[in-house]
Symmetry: C2
Subunit: 205 residues, 2 copies
Amino acid sequence: MSEFKPKGLVICVSGPSGVGKGTIIDELRRISPDTIHSISVTTRTPRPGEIDGVHYYFRTTEEFEQMMSRGDILEHDCYCGNYYGTPRAPLIEATEQGHDVVMDVTVPGSLAVMKNFPDAVTLFLLPPSFTELRRRLTRRGTEDQEVVERRLQKARDEIEKTRLFQYVVVNDEIQQTARKILSIVEAERCRYEQMAGIEKLIMSK
Amino acid sequence: MSEFKPKGLVICVSGPSGVGKGTIIDELRRISPDTIHSISVTTRTPRPGEIDGVHYYFRTTEEFEQMMSRGDILEHDCYCGNYYGTPRAPLIEATEQGHDVVMDVTVPGSLAVMKNFPDAVTLFLLPPSFTELRRRLTRRGTEDQEVVERRLQKARDEIEKTRLFQYVVVNDEIQQTARKILSIVEAERCRYEQMAGIEKLIMSK
């Protein structure tokens, strides 16, 4: 099917803090190296060794705000006085070239993506249980019980948003979760909207 | 997740005559023995060794027509003066118990399923090319060119219905096609509608 080049997919992986998004994204990167991972734009200063366009796109606050006002940022967040956001342009470019892009996005960020990029495939990771989420958050080394409780409350609020996502995966075991996500990507590639027009090509051959 | 028992899925596999539906269904049966394959109802006489409820549900014409009028037949066809149809009840029973059911359905039959059982996941198999479809239909032993041409015209008409299906898989190579179908099944199991309520269970654990 060398003549049929469907666009790539944008897969937005989300879930509450502590659910293991980062680990899953790393595993996906390992088992599916062709998948592109979106690079965020940030206004923070590059750390030694960080390369613009590889680790982040480094921009000034003014540039970032201009991008936002032009609608070039799909979702953003503020952290320690710096902006972090997902730029639209590299994502469009990659998908036009047929590459799939996986994004690791916060829950509020995902809601913004749903609005600003409705074609994105949205996926919510759930912990196997709330007890397990508490254990994972405690294990992180933050021993301050108050901080843990605040995060758990935030997680509770975020988990209530599960129903807004297209897919739900319980992150019980890393390999299994990654495999399920890859099945979702494969299935989405087979959706008629993604394949539209292929039947005409086939009739002509 | 032993307490969360989502319903099974109904997967309706269709495609033009000669595309290889039967072979794919056999391969699915081989690699995924847990998948239930729907048993048709027919009014034809059982052949020696055929068992009611295993190979077919054997019913009289009167019984079949009663089932149809009650809406108990999702789709049906007439062939050599006998009815063949997909009964609703065993399908509901299997999915309620959490089993996935794969159906091999003609293109007109699939359109009836979409209407009568809108929850079904619908999948269209395409040949790699029209030339290849012609080759497969010719190879079947039907040397009568007129019959082949009639089938190809029917296939052309059926392929135009591709856009009505949720998923499209080009049946290039059996194992790959079967793997894609299993990915679709896995992905559909992860859809929020299929998992609805799991977040409440997780919050309570």
